[in-house]
């Protein structure tokens, strides 16, 4: 665990969190729909579709306040360490697990980082498509990271999370968001159950697509 941040940092982080949440609610009036699970802490990975930079802000905004510090988004270090403000928000507001996407390190490192965060009692938010979906496809194929994490921690619940409409709020290449209602749907959890890679990735992806069908 990192050491506890200073008092002014925590105040600033609290204010930033309130401002981000207010803005997200003003634009999207986002609502969480806990269909398949209850919002409780635990050995849990929320995996969601990724169409916009605002995706995990919406998931984070619909989490009950007491959960927010215990649910950590997994994000690319290259993006979140880019500027001072992003670094502050990534580290102190969202408490992100920052992954080195650009390379250099060994390939297992990201999975290890995530597994360690789980071991510390946090839940995770990950986007298994690996990158933002800017195509017309509903959902891109999953990267294998989800499977490797499941194999490293087989007792983990993988909860599908469908974020509806945010891609219309901020289509690719646009900077200013259009206010539209958004909804975040949480489905029933999946475990590895001894599946091989392709079976597990297909099963989890289908579960997310099923939520997308319900939301439409």
């Amino acid at each position: 665990m990192t050491r506890r941040p200073s008092f002014p940092t925590r105040i600033a982080a609290g204010l930033a969190a309130a401002a981000i949440e207010l803005f997200a609610r003003l634009i999207t009036a986002v609502r969480g729909d806990w269909q398949g699970v209850e919002p409780v802490p635990g050995l849990r990975v929320y995996y969601a579709n990724h169409a916009s930079n605002g995706d995990f802000v919406l998931i984070w905004a619909v989490l009950p306040k007491r959960l927010r510090n215990r649910v950590r988004p997994v994000a690319g270090a290259d993006y979140w360490l880019g500027t001072k403000i992003k670094r502050f928000i990534g580290r102190h507001v969202f408490n992100a697990v920052l992954i080195d996407r650009v390379g250099g390190g060994p390939r297992e490192a990201p999975v290890e980082q995530m597994a360690q965060a789980l071991d510390e009692g946090s839940s995770l938010i990950i986007f298994p498509e690996g990158t933002r979906n800017l195509t017309d496809e509903v959902l891109l194929p999953f990267k294998t990271g989800l499977y490797h994490l499941a194999k490293a921690r087989p007792d983990t619940d993988f909860v599908p999370v469908w974020i509806d409409n945010l891609n219309r709020v901020m289509p690719k290449g646009e900077v200013i968001p259009v206010p539209l209602l958004c909804k975040v749907t949480f489905g029933a959890p999946h475990r590895l159950n001894g599946d091989d890679r392709d079976a597990f990735l297909a099963r989890t992806r289908d579960a997310l697509l099923a939520l997308a069908g319900d939301a439409a």
């Binding site: 009036a29 409409n165 646009e174 259009v178 206010p179 539209l180 209602l181």
Partner: protein
């Protein structure tokens, strides 16, 4: 402060207290564990009514600026719900950004400034012509007429019509100076009580569905009972208006009828889009448009009738 406004607000608060007590008793008796959905919805609605009355009360006491800001925010929330259900796409992005962040503030600023000559044509003429130009410049032709028409309709309903509620405060009526906020109170009280009473009469006596395909819960008995009682209530509220009691009753009749048909029209849109409510923002009621649909249809008519004959 206007003594009549305080009296009216006290009446409304009294009514809500009675409603809350009845709701509380019903809940204790029939739905102690939240098992009766109708009663849960009723108490959720009453709770939301408290919130709405408190907000409107604060806006009324803050006068013209307060009312204008409140309805500008309502327009924003309503437009957000409306656009969510339309076919607009990527190429309409800038049209929508202008609708939300330029048209709403400008229209309400015109209302605040009392610029009747401009605010009554700004959306029907200028936005009507400029919005399709912006969309056309992006070059996407799929469903063009549908998309353009939807944006215009959304602006007319959610911004233009809704802005006629605060516009009532700017009417200059001889002998009624400084009491414009009471006209708004009259409109809102009549419309909302008409909605509530249609529901109550419908539950008590309703047998014959009036528009089964649009709105299965609306009945002839509810319609007649609700509109008639709202007319009587309007007539008895003449003391807050510049009207005689007969005139106030006639106004209330027009308001209640427009409100009823407004609800039907907005239901038709919801059915077509396959949704039950416009949104989820007001607990128990659905979205802002679910609560505002009857107000937006009656506000411009009430505004113009009052303006022609009294201002």
């Amino acid at each position: 402060m206007i003594p009549d406004l305080v009296i009216l607000l006290s009446w409304i608060v009294g009514l809500l207290i009675v409603a809350s007590v009845i709701g509380g008793i019903l809940e204790k008796t029939y739905s102690a564990d939240g098992q009766n959905e109708a009663i849960e919805n009723l108490t959720a609605r009453i709770r939301a009514w408290w919130g709405m009355v408190i907000l409107i009360g604060i806006a009324f006491l803050a006068g013209r600026t307060g009312v204008v800001i409140l309805f500008a925010l309502c327009s924003f929330a309503a437009l957000r719900e409306f656009v969510t259900l339309t076919n607009v796409r990527r190429s309409d992005h800038w049209t929508l950004i202008i609708a939300f962040f330029v048209v709403i503030p400008f229209q309400y600023w015109l209302i605040w400034a009392g610029e009747y000559g401009i605010y009554s044509i700004y959306i029907p003429v200028y936005c009507f012509l400029l919005a399709p130009i912006i969309s056309a410049l992006r070059g996407e032709t799929d469903n063009f007429l549908i998309r353009v028409a939807e944006v215009q309709w959304a602006l007319m309903i959610c911004v233009f019509c809704a802005s006629h509620v605060p516009a009532l405060i700017t009417l200059e009526i001889v002998g009624f100076e400084g009491r414009g906020v009471l006209l708004i109170a009259f409109l809102i009280v009549v419309v909302q009580l008409s909605d509530v009473l249609q529901y109550v009469w419908g539950k008590l006596l309703g047998k014959h569905k009036i528009a089964p395909r649009l709105s299965p819960s609306k009945t002839v008995e509810g319609f007649v009972g609700g509109v008639a009682s709202a007319t009587l209530i309007g007539a008895s509220l003449y003391w807050i208006t510049p009207f005689t009691s007969l005139q106030a009753g006639m106004m209330a009749l027009v308001i209640a009828l427009m409100g009823f048909f407004g609800g039907l029209v907005m239901s038709a849109i919801k059915r077509d889009r396959g949704v039950k409510d416009w949104g989820h923002t007001i607990e128990g009621h659905g979205g802002f448009i679910d609560r505002l649909d009857s107000v937006v249809f009656s506000a411009p008519i009430f505004f113009h009738l009052t303006r022609y004959w009294w201002a």
